[in-house]
C-alpha cells in the first residue's frame, strides 16, 4: 500500500525530472545553460573549477547521531586526502564542504540553499528525516547524493546513490545466516522491535518477507525512538515464545532489549542491523548482555581484517587518535570511493556537470570498493546496488566492538527479494 503511494511520488519525480531536462533548468539560484567548457575539454557547471571538485557533506556532529556522524565525516575526509595525494581526479583536487544539521530537518532545509551552489554533489547526506525534507530540492537541482540512510523506500529518486545494501536486505540476510547456523527453524515465532518510521519500517519489510518464505510468525512491537525501556516488550515476547528477536532500533534501545533478554532468562539470539549498535554501549551497564547480538551490515566492521579496511582504520587512528571508533569511518570512506568511480566515469565522458555525473552513475555496473562493501551495480534504477552483507558479533575485545563472523555473503532469499521500486 505504501508502494502505491510512493508510486505516485515516483510519477511526480519522473515528471519533474523530464521537465527539468527539457527546460535544462539549473536549480533555483543560477542560470547556466548545460555547463561550460573547463580544463581538459570537460563540461562543468556547479562546484567544479579547473583545479578543484567540491563535494558537500550534510552531516550530524551535534545531534543524536554525532558519534556516527563524526566517523562518517572523518571517513569522507580520509578518502579525499588519499585521492588528492594520488593526484586528484580528472586533474582536479577534491575539496569537501561540510555543514552540520544536528539531525534536524528544519536546519538542513535552511542550510541547503547556502551549500547547494558550491557543490557538484553530496558525498554524504545523513538522516532519513533530512533526506525526506530535501528530496524535492535534490530533484529540482539535479543533485546526486550518497545518503547515510539505507532505506529502500528512497530508491525511486535516481539522484540517490545508495552505498551498500538496504535495511530490508540486511535483515533478510541476517535471518538467513542465523537459520544456517541452526539458531532458527521454519515455523518458529520471532519478535521484531522497530521504530515507527522510515528506518524501522524498512527493516520490518525485510523480516516480513523472510517470514513469508519460511512460515515464520512475527511478533511485532512498534516503538518511538525515545522509548528507552523495552523490558515490557521483551517480557511479552518471552510469553509469545520467540526463538529470536530482530531489532531495528537506536543503540540505546538495543542495550535495553539485550539487558532484558538476559535478565528475564530468555537469552535468545538477537539480530540487529547497521544502526542498532554503537561501540559506546560497551561502556554501559548493559555491556555484559551484548554477547547475544549479531549485527548484519553492508560495510565491514571497524575491526575487519580486510586489507583495505585495515588501511582505512590505521589512517584514521593516526589522523584522529581521540575520536570514537565506529562503523562510520569505513562507510564514509566507501562513500568517497563510489564517488571516485562516478567522477572518473564522468570525466571519461567529458561531462562533469550535475547531469553528466548522474548519467555516469547509471553506467557503473560493478563498482569495486576492495571489499569494504560488496560489488555495487547502479545500472538498474530502483533496485539496491548490492545485496551482500557482513555479519558481525559483539566482542568487547575487538576495536569498534564488533568481530566479523561471516565474510560478505548474499542469501538466496535476498537474491529473490523484490525492493519496492525494483523494476522487472
Amino acid at each position: 500500500m505504501i508502494a502505491a503511494r510512493r508510486a505516485g511520488r515516483s510519477a511526480l519525480i519522473a515528471g519533474v525530472l523530464t521537465s527539468t531536462l527539457v527546460l535544462a533548468a539549473c536549480g533555483s539560484t543560477a542560470d547556466t545553460s548545460g555547463g561550460t567548457e573547463g580544463a581538459g575539454g570537460v563540461a562543468t557547471d556547479f562546484g567544479v573549477t579547473d583545479t578543484t571538485i567540491t563535494l558537500g557533506i550534510m552531516g550530524d556532529t551535534s545531534g543524536v547521531f554525532k558519534n556516527l556522524g563524526a566517523g562518517l565525516n572523518a571517513g569522507n575526509q580520509l578518502w579525499a586526502d588519499d585521492v588528492n595525494a594520488a593526484g586528484g581526479i580528472c586533474g582536479r583536487q577534491i575539496e569537501i564542504e561540510t555543514v552540520d544539521h544536528g539531525y534536524k530537518a528544519d536546519v538542513a532545509k535552511t542550510l541547503y540553499p547556502q551549500l547547494e551552489p558550491n557543490v557538484l554533489g553530496m558525498v554524504q547526506l545523513l538522516g532519513s528525516p533530512v533526506l525526506a525534507a530535501l528530496e524535492p530540492n535534490l530533484i529540482e537541482d539535479n543533485m546526486l547524493a550518497a545518503p547515510a540512510s539505507w532505506s529502500s523506500e528512497v530508491l525511486d529518486n535516481p539522484g540517490i546513490m545508495m552505498i551498500g545494501t538496504t535495511y530490508d536486505l540486511e535483515i533478510v540476510n541476517g535471518l538467513a545466516y542465523l537459520q544456517q547456523q541452526g539458531l532458527l527453524a521454519d515455523g518458529d515465532t520471532i519478535g521484531h522491535i522497530y521504530i515507527d518510521g522510515e528506518y524501522g519500517g524498512n527493516g520490518l519489510k525485510g523480516s516480513k518477507y523472510y517470514a513469508e518464505q519460511h512460515g515464520i510468525t512475527i511478533n511485532e512491537a512498534k516503538v518511538t525512538s525515545t522509548d528507552n525501556d523495552l523490558t515490557g516488550i521483551v517480557t511479552g515476547m518471552r510469553g509469545a515464545g520467540v526463538k529470536l528477536i530482530v531489532l531495528t532500533t537506536t543503540p540505546g534501545q538495543t542495550a535495553s532489549a539485550l539487558a532484558a533478554n538476559q535478565a528475564l532468562g530468555l537469552n535468545v539470539p538477537v539480530l540487529g542491523n547497521n544502526p542498532t549498535f554503537d561501540p559506546a554501549l560497551l561502556q554501559t551497564p548493559a555491556a555484559g548482555a551484548l554477547g547475544n547480538l549479531y549485527v548484519s551490515a553492508s560495510n565491514a566492521p571497524f575491526s575487519s581484517s580486510n586489507p583495505k579496511a585495515v588501511e582505512v582504520t590505521t589512517a584514521y587512528k593516526e589522523a584522529y587518535p581521540d575520536l570514537p571508533r565506529n562503523a562510520g569511518i569505513t562507510t564514509g570512506y566507501t562513500e568517497g570511493l563510489v564517488w571516485q568511480n562516478v567522477l572518473e566515469a564522468a570525466c571519461e565522458a567529458g561531462d562533469l556537470t550535475r547531469a553528466g555525473v548522474k548519467t555516469a552513475l547509471g553506467t557503473l555496473t560493478s563498482v569495486d570498493t576492495e571489499g569494504l562493501v560488496d560489488v555495487l551495480d547502479y545500472s538498474s534504477p530502483g533496485a539496491p546496488p548490492t545485496r551482500g552483507v557482513y555479519i558481525a558479533q559483539v566482542d568487547a575485545n575487538a576495536e569498534g566492538g564488533l568481530t566479523e563472523v561471516a565474510p560478505l555473503f548474499t542469501s538466496p532469499e535476498a537474491e529473490s527479494y523484490k525492493a519496492p521500486f525494483q523494476q522487472g
Binding site: 503511494r5 505516485g8 539560484t29 551535534s62 564542504e97 555543514v99 541547503y112 525534507a133 530540492n137 529540482e140
Partner: protein, 401 residues
Amino acid sequence: MSETMTPPAAPPQAPPAGAARPGRNWLKIVATAVLVVVLLLLPVLVGNSGVAYLKLAQYILIGVVGGIGLTLLVGQAGQLSLAHPFFLLVGAVGYAVLSGDPEESDDLVGLGLPPLVGVIGAVALCGLIGLAFAPVAGRLRGIYLGVASLSLVFLGLWLGQSLDMFSGGTSSGRNAPVFELFGFEFANSQPAPTIAGVAIQKQQRLWYLFLAFALGSYFLARGAVNSRIGRSWRAVRDNEAAATAMGVHVTRVKAGAFVISSAFAGLAGVMTALWLDLVKPDENEFTGTYSLTVAIAFLAIVIIGGLGSVPGAVIGAVLVFGLQQFFLLGSQQFGWFADAQFGGFSAVVVSAFVYGGAIVLVVLFEPGGMAAIGRRLLGRRRSPDVPATADGDRTTPREDR
C-alpha cells in the same frame, strides 16, 4: 517595533473612535513603514546567492505567526497552553488533505480543492478543534491547563502515526500541495519575473506569501488586543469574578481565545508544510517539527517577547526561531565557531545558551520582556507636545502587556 501608547480604557468623555488620538508617535510610524519596505525588498537585498537567508527569514515568520497566536492565549487571556505543536500538525495535515492531489496515490486522501481554500479550511479546522478543547480549557487554570493541553501533543503524535491516509505516515510523509493564487504558482517557473535583477522564484514567492500571512496575523492580533475582545480577555485573565460582574461571559471568552489561538497555530502549520515542502508526522514526541521541543520554543518566544505583547512575539520569534540557524549559516559563511569540529562551542550550543540565557534574564530582571524594554525606550521619545498621561512611564503591563 514596539508599543503604541494606546490611551487607557475610554472614560465617558473620551472622543469618539476615529478622532485623532493624542500620542501618535510619528517616529514609530515612520520606523514601521521603513521596516515593511525593507521586508518587501528582502529578496532583492539578499540577492540570488542569499536564498538561505531568505529561507531563514521565512522560518522566522512561521515563529511569528505561531507566537502571536500563543501570546494572545497565554498573555492576554491568561491560559497556559502547550498544545501549539498539535495545532501546527493539524494545520499542515489539513492543508495537505484539503488541497492534495486526489490522483497522488491510492491510499492518501486528497480532496484537490484550490490551495487558498485549503489554507482557509485548515485554519478553520484548527479553530474548530480548539473549540472542541474549550470545555477543558474553560475548567482548568494555570499549570493544570498546561499539562492538560500537553496531552494534545501526544495525541497528535499517535494520530499522525496511525492515520497515515491523511498524514502520509512517519516513513515518507506526503507532499505539501504547491500553493497557487488565481493561477499563479508559488513554485519555480521559466521564465521568472525579476525585481531589480533578482529572479522571483519559488523561495522569493513563498517569502511574499509568508509576509502577507504574518502581516495579516499581526494586524488582526493588534486589532483584537486593542478592542473589546482584548479587554474581555484581560478582564478574564486578571479577575474572573470581576469580569463576570462587568458582564463578561467568562467561559465563552476563554473558549474564544482558544479558538483564535488555535487558528493562528493552524496557519503556522500550513506555513510549515509549505516551507518544508513536506508533511511528515514526527517519529517521537521529543524531537521533530510538531514535538514538545516546539511547544517549549513557542513558550520561549512568548516569555522573551513579553506576555501578551504582539510586537514582543515578533522579537521573540526572531531570537528563538532565527538565532540558531543564523549562527549556523554564519559559521558556514564566515567560519564562526570553526574550531568546534566535534562538540565544543558549536553554533547549535551557543544559540541554545543565548536563548536559554535570554529567558532567565527576562524572568529575573524584566518580567515584561522585550515589550517592556521597547516601551521604556519609546517612552523617553514621546513627542513633546503630548502631555504625558498619568501612567506614561509605566513599564508594568497595561493594555497589551
